[in-house]
């Protein structure tokens, strides 16, 4: 290879996300660039701690990084719009917004301006389970006092709007604490990714849909200098590899989710689908959170979240109002 990028990920080697986004991207880059660029992937914690991947690239420690804007939400809530948040768009609509509604361009401008990084989207996902739960959740009232392992915007909404108790549980302890009722509910990932974690074996309820995380997004980033120095044909090849990775992994997620859902239905776990009215109430609470954050930032002189959010909400509205022509394969 003419160029080699050492690329650490914010997730463990061998995990569902790592294989789908990281390894798939490395393989696709090899094909599209004809071997000119080699991506050397590393799992989280091997050469860079999971939450320090952005910083490691900025520091010049590694050439490229692979992470999700979710990990930057505490630092700057603008990232929540890209990472997906309660009230955000479905994976399907997100895919359209990112590639055809100007989303990726806005992410790139935002990263370039704020962090000196060039970003490329490499993964968009399906909805997560809202919860594996020891308690029945059917209304927003059921969230009151609920010890709920969650983070980010949803944690803020659960706490401030519904009087729940968001709690941090380290990855390795989630299963045990859920099993022993140290927490009432947890959210983790998509149906397909959760299946092997076995949460459904220890908690009697699964709550859907994944209001808190309707979709998610992972990106690959390099320093702007690194990117700008690349020849144009190579840039185009890398972008093609990234886009291919997004589409392939999206289909992979959906496929494994559907299979996993069939598996869950063979077990004794009770799957609760929230009423539309409840779902919309929660989503609106999530959007209020985003508007509040955008206003706080704007008042402090930073309008980027406001602009990005406006584009996002406009696209979501258009999608909601005009997608009724789509055939939905749902049997009720």
């Amino acid at each position: 290879a003419e160029i080699t990028w050492r690329m650490p990920a914010a997730i463990s080697e061998g995990s569902f996300f790592y294989q789908n986004f990281m390894e798939r991207f490395a393989a696709n880059v090899e094909v599209t660039t004809g071997g000119k660029l080699e991506v050397q992937p590393f799992g989280a914690g091997v050469i860079v701690p999971a939450f320090k991947v952005y910083e490691a690239v900025q520091d010049g420690l590694v050439d490229a990084g692979h992470s999700t804007p979710s990990y930057l939400v505490n630092q700057d809530p603008t990232n929540a719009i890209f990472a997906s948040f309660p009230g955000g768009m479905s994976g399907e609509a997100t895919l359209h917004w990112v590639y055809n509604g100007g989303g990726e361009k806005m992410l790139q401008d935002f990263r370039r301006e704020k962090m000196g990084l060039h970003s490329i989207v490499v993964g968009i996902g399906t909805s997560e389970f809202m919860a594996h739960s020891n308690k029945e959740i059917r209304t927003t009232a059921d969230l009151k006092g609920l010890k709920y392992r969650t983070s980010g915007a949803w944690a803020a909404v659960v706490k401030e709007t519904y009087g729940g108790v968001p709690t941090v549980v380290p990855g390795g302890e989630i299963y045990t604490l859920l099993q022993r009722k140290g927490v009432d509910a947890i959210e983790w990932s998509t149906p397909g990714a959760n299946l092997s974690e076995g949460f459904h074996e220890v908690a009697p309820y699964i709550i859907m849909p994944g209001v808190h995380q309707p979709s998610f997004l992972w990106e690959v980033f390099v320093k702007t200098e690194t990117w700008d120095a690349l020849p144009d044909d190579l840039k185009a090849q890398i972008e093609a590899a990234a886009k291919l990775t997004t589409y392939e992994s999206y289909a992979h997620f959906g496929n494994s989710d559907i299979k996993a859902m069939a598996e869950y239905k063979k077990t004794k776990v009770e799957m609760i689908t929230l009423d539309n009215a409840v779902v919309e109430e929660m989503r609106e609470a999530g959007r209020s959170w985003a508007r509040k954050k955008a206003k706080e930032l704007a008042d402090a002189g930073d309008t980027s979240m406001q602009k990005i959010m406006d584009s996002y909400f406009a696209y979501q509205k258009a999608w909601a109002e005009n997608s009724e022509y789509l055939v939905r394969d749902i049997v009720k």
Binding site: Y71, N74, G145, S151, G152, K159, T167, V168, P170
Partner: protein, 189 residues
């Protein structure tokens, strides 16, 4: 020179003492969380972050104190056959000329990270509590700094042949077992 070394020893001891108090803080904060979570059904937002920060503090503020006590594990089945002079030279060399400088550089980097976190108001990445991280980063820099100084200090002690590597007593020697002799009724005799 000797007085300089004893100042470093005293600084390490002081921060070792802080680390001891931090252990009590760790116990108290975790117990508070246990009671809040299981008795009052209301876990705190901060227990998770506080616990790792306190543990990191115990580790780093105690690192120099531990080095001074020569309590870091050696595999000495081969090296113990070397003369004391050789052992002192080897350890003195590595401590003074390699480990001391390395940890000085780590200190510099940790200090830079702490400063950057301070000026950018960096917060913890994913916790709902989202605490500012510069105090913890500052403790890391502080701990590494004392650790680096203690490396120079211990290295000098070896090179000046005032101390022999691995000649420390095991931890259990600090426990006065013989004073707690127990008779069959389980009472102290």
């Amino acid at each position: 020179m000797t007085s300089f070394l004893s100042v470093i020893d005293r600084v390490s001891n002081f921060f070792g003492g802080i680390a001891k108090l931090v252990i009590l803080c760790l116990v108290l904060s975790m117990i508070y969380e246990v009671i809040a979570r299981y008795v009052f059904d209301a876990p705190t937002l901060w227990a998770f972050d506080i616990s790792y920060m306190l543990n990191g503090t115990i580790f780093l503020l105690g690192a120099a104190f531990t080095l001074q006590a020569d309590a870091h594990v050696r595999i000495d089945f081969l090296s113990s056959r070397l003369s004391h002079k050789t052992q002192q030279f080897l350890n003195g060399f590595f401590y003074s000329f390699l480990l001391g400088p390395c940890f000085s550089i780590f200190t510099y980097i940790a200090g830079k990270k702490a400063y950057k976190a301070f000026i950018t108001n960096e917060v913890e990445n994913v916790s709902p509590w989202a605490p500012l991280v510069w105090p913890f980063y500052g403790v890391i820099a502080l701990g590494l700094g004392i650790f680096a100084l203690q490396f120079f200090c211990e290295g000098m002690k070896y090179l000046k042949r005032e101390k022999i590597p691995g000649e420390h007593a095991g931890e259990i020697d600090n426990i006065e077992i013989d004073t707690i002799e127990i008779n069959n009724t389980g009472e102290k005799s």
